[in-house]
């Protein structure tokens, strides 16, 4: 399983084999949410996910 580094606490974040662009990952140590920006041969690129906004929901 691929792992990426949490930019907040440096923990390893496991990345599922079937990860998709746009999916969210959570740091198991500090719970920071990340969005998968790119999935490619060179690996997975993540960025910190948007915070929940007031108009979010169903």
């Amino acid at each position: 399983m691929i792992r990426v580094k949490c930019t907040q606490c440096d923990a390893d974040i496991p990345v599922p084999d079937d990860v998709m662009q746009g999916e969210l990952l959570s740091c198991p140590d500090c719970s920071t949410d990340y969005e998968v920006v790119k999935v490619g041969h060179e690996g997975v690129v993540i960025k910190e996910a948007e915070a929940v906004a007031e108009d979010w929901g169903e």
Partner: protein, 282 residues
Amino acid sequence: MTILFDRLRWEEKQLYNAARRLGVSVKLVDCKSLLFDCQDTRELLESVEGVVLQRCVSYFRGLYWTAVLESLGVKVVNRFQTSLICGNKLLTTLKLTTHNIPTPRTFATFDVGRAMEAMEKLGYLAVMKPVVGSWGRLVTPIRDRYMAESFLELFNQIEDPVNKVFYIQEMVQRPPRDIRSVVVGDRVVACVYRHAAPNEWRTNVARGGTTSPCKVTPNLRRVLIDTAKAVGGGVLGIDVMEHNGKFLVHEVNSTVEFRGAQESTKGDIATAIIKYVAEQDE
């Protein structure tokens, strides 16, 4: 078809996988990076294919992209009018009442004094809600006059012009649950009871609520289908309360989250949605 998203949740993955299982050509497009140029729409139109299933978690992002795409002749599920209505509780109330669909008694005003008057008319408990908002956020039970005065003062401090209106409803006496249904076109594809989490009165699954199967009686089916028609149809999450043998519709959701409902439903909700969306392209 295109699944337009801004956050790829469990639901969007289910929908994508359902489309692929059905052999439907499907594209996932993250709307956060789209660009609309009113003088050159080629890039935007090339970003999408077929009917667009709009699945944005942000109400305004989804609404604006639906408006843009529809203006360019792209078919979007749900339609702009439906998304506009369902995302605003006051507009939803107007549709329900003009179509004679039972709904809790509701007041709306911009004036604190008139809001107090509404609370006194309803008696306590009453409920205050922001007109735009989901997942039970800021839905507040008002227990007495003192609480009403405090919360009206607090709500009056909200700077966001969209939520400057006081939206006040009766607190419906109901069993400790409500009903969440997923209505796709003219079919009820899922129907579950939602039970609030411990120490919580709101039944949202997002707030820890759990689900169990709910039988769709003819009366309930009629209310759900009439509600779907009233707001313009499409793929909807319709929330209903039971009160004195009647069903009261209290909310209609235009980008329904269905993970909780799926846990208590035999049929495949994602497949039903994809089949419906694919039919819109015919």
